[in-house]
């Protein structure tokens, strides 16, 4: 009798093993077809971890997907650890508890991802229960049935349609900024992404440059590469010196004003500027000179009357001017501003840009990102147009004087230029590759 029970128990174990493996295979098969509907490589469905991550991407829950994968791995780890200890031991109980907590967390994150799938496939939320209780059948239905189609597709990466590389490196100028950026890549979740590629230009000192580009075109990435904050495969020469090789000594010659006013709101205006001066100005500078520099900057940006106020009590415009003042205190050669006019009304914004114009006129290079370029375009010398090509990589669509830009794109306003290079799914004309090629041709002609 005992033997019979033993045999049937073994049979049950073998059967459950086969059943689990079969169910997992069917689920992976269902996901294989589901992935293909969204142009994701189908065989990813057969790799544990990668499969969950890509399911999350399709569900537009990439962040949750990463956590989900991590939790799944930890869950297996906790299960293994608990099995290492003897039955009934404290450690076994402890790791079983951890395992149970992780299972709970996996279910929660799974629900988030399945909800995302329901939204993307425009199905009722009730399907979440089906995914949780019968994942293999559900995956098969969703994968095979033509009725289940996503309302979007992961952006097409058409590498063949993307504009060719010009490779037209520019010669470094002695007074100004020379950028020869081959590419800027990142590796995210085992995927290599090219964020920027093939950007070459020389900006002379005294120029105020508008940086134009749609969302995701790589404007901030470009600026971070230019300033050396996030190094690219590039050569950045500022006034004859290689910025990447001399970053430690040259970083004081750069000013970067971020979009947000990143200052301590409880500190006073005067102390904020004084502390910035203490760090950014040479320590052998005479005390009187330092004080004069602080007073001059406060005066230039109209902050003298509020110098004893707390930063948090300033108006939006004043705060922005203070943010600029803290960067300008070291009198940098290259001055970069990321949307300095965000949140400011037209008149205040224009006055701010006039101040920037006067800074450029002092022999500096000022590069500005703004989303309302037309109201201030007359104050700029040049424009850089960045555009996403067919491979979703940031490319140089144009660099040159403002007037030339209008004729190059055949448009009458900066916003129209932006629309022409924006992708069609963003409401643009989707002509980025055309202009990138055209501009490359211009550069190559000049080089010849």
């Amino acid at each position: 009798m005992g033997d019979l029970a033993n045999i049937s128990m073994k049979g049950l174990v073998v059967f459950s093993g086969f059943f689990t493996a079969g169910a997992s295979f069917i689920e992976a098969l269902g996901l294989f077809f589901l992935f293909r509907k969204d142009k994701v490589r189908g065989w990813y469905a057969f790799i544990p971890g990668v499969c969950e991550y890509h399911t999350a991407i399709i569900a537009e829950r990439e962040e949750d997907g990463r956590t989900f994968c991590l939790l799944v791995v930890c869950r297996y780890l906790a299960l293994t650890l608990s099995n290492l200890f003897a039955e009934g031991s404290v450690m076994r109980k402890f790791w079983t508890l951890v395992y149970a907590a992780l299972v709970f967390a996996v279910i929660l994150f799974g629900i988030c991802i399945f909800l995302g799938l329901c939204r993307v496939f425009e199905r009722k939320r009730g399907w979440v229960f089906m995914w949780l209780l019968f994942p293999s059948v559900t995956a098969l239905i969703w994968g095979l049935s033509p009725k289940f189609r996503p309302n979007h597709r992961i952006p097409d990466m058409d590498y063949e349609k993307a504009a060719a590389i010009s490779g037209a490196a520019v010669e470094a100028i002695q007074h100004g900024l020379t950028i020869n950026l081959t590419d800027r890549t990142v590796t995210d979740a085992m995927k290599k992404k090219v964020l920027l590629k093939d950007i070459h230009m020389s900006i002379p000192t005294g120029h105020m440059v508008l940086l134009l580009g749609g969302s995701g075109a790589g404007k901030t990435t470009f600026l971070n590469a230019v300033t050396g904050y996030e190094k690219a495969n590039a050569e950045i020469i500022l006034n004859g010196r290689d910025l990447y090789n001399n970053y430690e000594s040259m970083k004081y010659d750069l000013g970067f004003v971020p979009q947000q006013d990143l200052m301590r709101l409880s500190d006073t205006v005067y102390r904020t500027v004084t502390n910035a001066a203490a760090i950014r100005l040479p320590k052998n500078m005479k005390r009187a000179d330092r004080k004069k520099r602080i007073d001059d900057v406060l005066e230039k940006f109209g902050l003298n009357s509020v110098k004893n106020s707390q930063v948090g009590k300033l108006s939006g415009g004043q705060r922005k001017r203070l943010s600029i003042a803290t960067e300008l205190i070291s009198d940098p050669t290259l001055f970069i501003l990321d949307e300095p006019d965000s949140g400011l009304d037209g008149i205040v914004a224009r006055n701010l840009f006039k101040s920037l114009r006067s800074i450029a006129d002092e022999g500096k290079i000022v590069i500005v990102i703004t989303h309302t370029p037309d109201r201030v375009s007359d104050l700029f010398d040049d424009v850089i147009v960045l555009a996403k090509d067919a491979a979703r990589t940031g490319r140089l669509g144009f660099y040159g004087p403002i007037k030339d830009a209008y004729s190059f794109f055949g448009k009458e306003s900066m916003e129209d230029i932006l629309l022409s290079v924006n992708q069609k799914d963003e409401g643009g004309e989707g002509r980025a590759d055309e202009f990138v090629e055209k501009y490359s041709g211009l550069l190559n002609k000049k080089a010849v």
């Binding site: 404290v90 450690m91 402890f94 901030t220 300033t227 904050y229 996030e230 006034n239 004859g240 010196r241 001399n246 000594s249 040259m250 970083k251 004081y252 010659d253 970067f256 971020p258 947000q260 990143l262 200052m263 301590r264 409880s266 500190d267 006073t268 102390r271 502390n275 910035a276 203490a278 760090i279 950014r280 100005l281 040479p282 320590k283 052998n284 707390q310 960067e327 050669t333």
Partner: protein, 316 residues
């Protein structure tokens, strides 16, 4: 600027920057209402000493409970001082780091500033407990001044907890995450303080806890092993009438023993059974406790610097 000119320029180094940030932190202490942690520590000390102060330095059980409670107060104070210090201004630190600020200078300034806060809180805790009727012994274990050693111990517990919270603040990215993590840290510290009976394997984990060394330090200073154990006596006196032996109730026997002046010797005998080697009032035990707390402080501070050095990799 040409090469030679740029190379000649010297900027404020790590040491000089410490003073800039120290000044800023003390300024913000007033302007940002960070001073609130000082009266808060006084209120918590008053509440705790009201609840458990009567048994402190009087009996073994009272001292053990009070030491645990005071350790918890110190850890609470330390956590609250710094749990948001870094994460709330993370984008600002990133901006300043890119502009030339050294992370080591920033953290050193934080360490000095937090040290002052913790010292003030340790002093206030001792003062408030004294005012609430706690009678401190006069002699310490190492020196002749009990209060000096008690202050050092409370300060080290508070400071170690403070730097642990500072480390968490450097690891997490938002104040909300920091405040979510904090209760878990607190619970772990409480569970592994040595106050609760734990399975042997988990008991070893308590060696990694600030609370465990805090309780030990305070019990060593209170001369725990030489205190009487009163709980058993009091329980028997209050409920011993039900226990009869040879026609006499246990309660009557204890009352009689008290009349004959045997109470103290019985309590001492009961206390002997409760003695613990790690609570003996020896220099070795106290030094052990201080050394562990200092080691925690150093390790947490180093980890804080290491994590914050990667701040430039923060995503937008």
């Amino acid at each position: 600027m040409d090469d030679a000119k740029v190379k000649k320029l010297k900027y404020r180094g790590r040491f000089g920057q410490v003073f800039i940030y120290l000044g800023k932190f003390f300024r913000l202490f007033i302007l940002q209402s960070d001073w609130k942690v000082i009266p808060m520590s006084a209120i918590i000390a008053a509440m705790v000493s009201m609840a458990i102060g009567s048994g402190l330095f009087v009996s073994m059980e009272g001292t053990f409970q009070a030491s645990f409670a005071i350790t918890c107060v110190c850890i609470w104070n330390g956590f609250f001082n710094s749990i948001q210090s870094i994460c709330r201004e993370r984008p600002i630190i990133k901006r300043e780091h890119r502009a030339g600020m050294h992370i080591t200078s920033y953290i050193t300034a934080q360490l000095i500033y937090q040290m002052m806060l913790c010292a003030a809180q340790a002093f206030i805790t001792i003062f408030v407990c004294g005012q609430m009727g706690v009678k401190y012994p006069s002699a310490g274990v190492i020196t002749s001044s009990f209060l000096t050693e008690y202050f050092i111990t409370l300060f080290l517990i508070t400071y170690a907890a403070d730097i642990l919270a500072l480390m968490v603040s450097a690891i997490v990215h938002t104040p909300m995450t920091a405040m979510t993590v904090m209760p878990f840290l607190l619970i772990v510290q409480l569970v592994f303080a040595g106050f609760f009976e734990l399975p042997h394997m988990l008991g070893d984990v308590s060696d990694l806890m600030i609370s465990r060394w805090g309780v030990q330090g305070l019990c060593v200073l209170a001369d725990y092993n030489d205190l009487p154990a009163t709980v058993v006596w009091n329980k028997l006196v209050h409920s011993g009438s039900a226990i009869q032996y040879g026609g006499i109730s246990l309660q009557d026997a204890l009352v009689e023993a008290e009349k004959q002046g045997m109470r103290d010797s019985i309590l001492e005998k009961l206390g002997e059974a409760n003695r613990r080697d790690d609570f003996a009032a020896t220099i070795q035990n106290l030094a052990d406790c201080w050394a562990h707390l200092i080691l925690f402080i150093v390790v947490f501070a180093v980890v804080t610097v290491v994590f914050l050095e990667f701040i430039d990799h923060d995503r937008r």
